[in-house]
Amino acid sequence: MDILRFITAGSVDDGKSTLIGRLLYDSKSIMVDHLETLEKQSKNKNEDGIDLALLTDGLRAEREQGITIDVAYKYFTTPKRKFIIADAPGHVQYTRNMVTGASNSDLIIILVDARHGVAEQTRRHTLIASILAIPNVVVAVNKMDLVGFSEDVFNNILIDYHALIKDMNFRSVQFIPLSALNGDNIVEKSEKITWYEGVSLLDYLETIPLENAINLEISRFPVQYVVRPQTPELHDYRGYAGAIRSGIYRVGDKIQVLPSGLESTITKIEIGEKEVQEAFAPQSVILHLADDIDISRGDLIVRTEENNQPTLSKEIEAVLCWMDDSKPLAKGNKYLLQLNTRTVRAIVQEVEYKIDVHSLEKIQAPEKVLLNDLVKVKLKTAQVLAYDSYKTLRENGGAILIDETSHTTVGACMLE
C-alpha cells in the first residue's frame, strides 16, 4: 500500500466539500460519533439529512462564517491506498493557502460545475497547479444531475479545458463526469451516465500509477544533521543524516559536496541502524564517506557520475507567490531563503512581471506586490546555492522566503 497526496480546488459552491465528504463517507472513514455531531449541526442549519460539506469545516471561525479559510488535512484509506487530502479554499484571496496545499500534492482534483463550464476560477486553479508542477490533474465535472447527465455538456467542457492547458505540461489529465451529491461516479460507476466509459473517481485515485512521483534519475541529498556520538567505542563515527530528496545512492558511489566541491566516496549507508547497500528517495538515511571532509547542515551531496548537476549560483530567477498579508514585497528587500536544509540571505534585485491569474497575462514591472500575487523575480543570495529548476526537479527547486524580523514565511519560490 502506498500514499497518494492530493488537493481539491473549485469555486465556491461547485461542490468541493460535498465531494470530499462523499469520499470519506462512502469509504467508511467517518466515525459514528462524528456523524452524530454532523446530524446535530445539520439540524441547527435547518437542513434535513446530513450536510456532507460540514465534515470538512474545522475551526469555529470558519463554522461561523460558513467558509473554509485554511488548509485542512483529511485522511482516508482503502484496501489499495492511503490518501491524504489537502482541503484548501478556492477564493482568490486564499491563493496562498492553495499554493501551500499544492506544494505537496501528486494530484489535483479541479471541480467544474457542469452548468457553468470552465470558469475564471478554473483557469486560476489550473495555472497554480501548473506553476506548482502538480503532475496529475482530474477535472471533476460535477452536478451532472442538473444538466440531465448530458454528454454534450461534458464534451464541451473537455474541449474548453484542453484549450486552456495547451501550453501547460501536466503528466496526465483525466475528465470524470459526476454528481457528488448523489454519489454518481464517486465510488461506484454511475448507472445514469451510460455514455461514460472511464472509471469512477475513487477507482481512478486508487489506480493512478505513482512510480514516477519522485525523480529517481537525479540524486539529491541535503545534509540535515551530523551524527557524532563521540563516545570511546564510537570515537571515529561520523554520519551525515538526511532524507534523500531524489534519486538513488549506493555504497561505492563517487560523490561531491556542494557548494564546496569536495569529493569523496560513500562507504556505508544506514537506515535506522541497519546497513544497506543502496537507498532511494524519500528514505531517511545516514551516509558515511571515505574521507574526513568538512560537511555540515545545508550542504548538498550529489553523485558525480550523473549528467544532471545542480546549478551553482548566487543570481537566481524564480516565480514567487507572495504570502505576507502585512507587508508588500519590493525591490531591495532582504529575506532569508531556505531551500531544503540550506538557509542563506537573499535580496530582491528585480520584480520583472506579475502574472495576472485571470487572463494569464504578464504585467511588466508591477508597482506593488501584495498578498497572493504571483510574480517573476530576480534574487541575489549572499552565498552560493546549489539548486535545480523547479520544473525539472521539484525536490530541489522549491524554496521559501522568511522575513527576518517577523520570522514568518512570506514567500514560496519556484526556482528557474
Binding site: R81, S103, G242, H407
Partner: protein
C-alpha cells in the same frame, strides 16, 4: 528489477525521522514530550531511528498530572532507564502550590486544563525552544489544520489565523525570543497507522493497552476506572469488566473500552472494525463543547 517504491508505513516513518532531524538541526534546546502513551512511545522509537548510535539530542519531558495510570508511569521510567536517555518530570501538583491554582471540582475532576500551566513553566525553566509532540491530524477537527511546525507565542498560545504557510518539506523554525515551536512528526499518521507500525516494529507498550479486568464506574455509556480521584455517588453503578485503553490520559477523563483483545493482533482487529473515533470513544473532556479542543489549544494546550 528492484522496486523503488516505499509502502505507506515506510513513507510515514521516513517523514517523521526527517522532521525529528530538522528539529535537531534548527533548534538550540528541543525537548520530546513523553507521556508513556502509545503515540509518544512511537515518537521515541522514531527518535532512536533518527539519531542512534548517537544520543538523542533532546531530553524526554513528562508533565505528570498526578492522575496518571500507575502502569503508564512505570513504563515511562522503565523505557527512559532502558535507553539511558534523560527524563525530566514536572508535576502539576507543584504548579498548583506555587501558582495558587484552583483545582477543578466535580465528579471526574480533571487536571487536563491545569497541565498547560506546568508545561509552560517547564518550557520556561529549561528554555525549550521546540517541543516535539505526538498529536495527529486525524484526531480532531482543529488538529486537522495544525502545522507540523506550529508556532506558539510567549503565553504558549496558538493562533489559527496566524499560522505560517508550510510548503514542500521545508520547515521554518525561526522564532523570536520567548516564542517556541510545537513539532508534530506523526501529523500524517492515522490511529491505525500507529497501531500497524507498533506491530511491524515490535514496539513494547504499557499493559493497559491490552484487555485486563478493571473496576469501573459507568458514566453516560462510558467506563471510567474507579480511583481515588473519582467521586462516587450512591447511585453510581460500579462494575468489574474486561477492558483495554485506546488512549491514555488522566484517569479521570479517559474512558476504557470493553474488550477481550489480549494481543496486538486482536487489538488491531478491534480498531480496524470500530466505527467510533479514538477521541469520541475515550475522551470525556471533548464532549463539553464542539470547540473544546480548539479552545484548549488557543490557551497553550498541546
Amino acid at each position: 528489477m528492484q522496486n523503488y517504491q516505499l509502502n505507506h508505513l515506510d513513507q510515514l516513518e521516513s517523514e517523521a525521522i526527517y522532521i525529528m532531524r530538522e528539529v535537531a538541526g534548527q533548534f538550540e534546546k528541543p525537548a520530546l514530550l513523553f507521556s508513556g502513551g502509545k503515540d509518544s512511545i512511537v515518537l521515541v522509537h522514531l527518535a532512536l531511528k533518527a539519531f542512534r548510535p548517537g544520543r538523542l539530542p533532546f531530553p524526554l519531558v513528562h508533565v505528570d498530572t498526578g492522575h496518571n495510570f500507575e502502569e503508564v508511569l512505570q513504563f515511562r521510567d522503565y523505557l527512559a532507564n532502558k535507553l539511558g536517555e534523560k527524563l525530566i518530570v514536572r508535576k502539576v501538583e507543584d504548579t498548583i502550590q506555587r501558582q495558587h491554582l484552583t483545582e477543578p471540582k466535580g465528579k471526574f475532576a480533571s487536571r487536563n486544563a491545569l497541565q498547560t500551566y506546568t508545561l509552560l513553566e517547564t518550557i520556561e525553566e529549561f528554555g525549550f525552544d521546540a517541543c516535539i509532540g505526538g498529536a495527529r491530524r486525524d484526531e480532531e477537527k482543529a488538529r486537522a489544520k495544525e502545522r507540523i511546525f506550529s508556532v506558539r507565542d510567549e503565553f504558549g498560545q496558538w493562533n489559527p489565523k496566524l499560522q505560517r504557510p508550510e510548503l514542500w518539506n521545508t520547515y521554518n523554525g525561526k522564532v523570536a525570543k520567548g516564542e517556541n515551536v510545537r513539532v508534530f512528526p506523526i501529523s500524517n499518521w492515522t490511529e491505525l497507522d500507529v497501531w500497524n507500525y507498533i506491530r511491524r516494529e515490535n514496539i513494547e507498550l504499557p499493559s493497559i493497552y491490552f484487555a485486563h479486568e478493571r473496576t469501573c464506574v459507568e458514566f453516560q455509556n462510558q467506563l471510567v476506572a474507579l480511583s481515588e480521584f473519582v467521586q462516587l455517588e450512591p447511585s453510581d453503578k460500579v462494575v468489574k469488566v474486561g477492558v483495554r485503553y485506546r488512549t491514555v490520559g488522566d484517569m479521570t477523563c479517559t474512558a476504557a473500552v470493553p474488550s477481550q483483545a489480549r494481543t496486538l493482533d486482536e487489538v488491531i482487529n478491534e480498531i480496524t472494525v470500530t466505527r467510533t473515533s479514538e477521541r469520541g470513544e475515550t475522551r470525556i473532556d471533548d464532549r463539553a463543547s464542539e470547540a473544546a479542543m480548539e479552545d484548549r489549544k488557543r490557551n497553550g494546550y498541546f
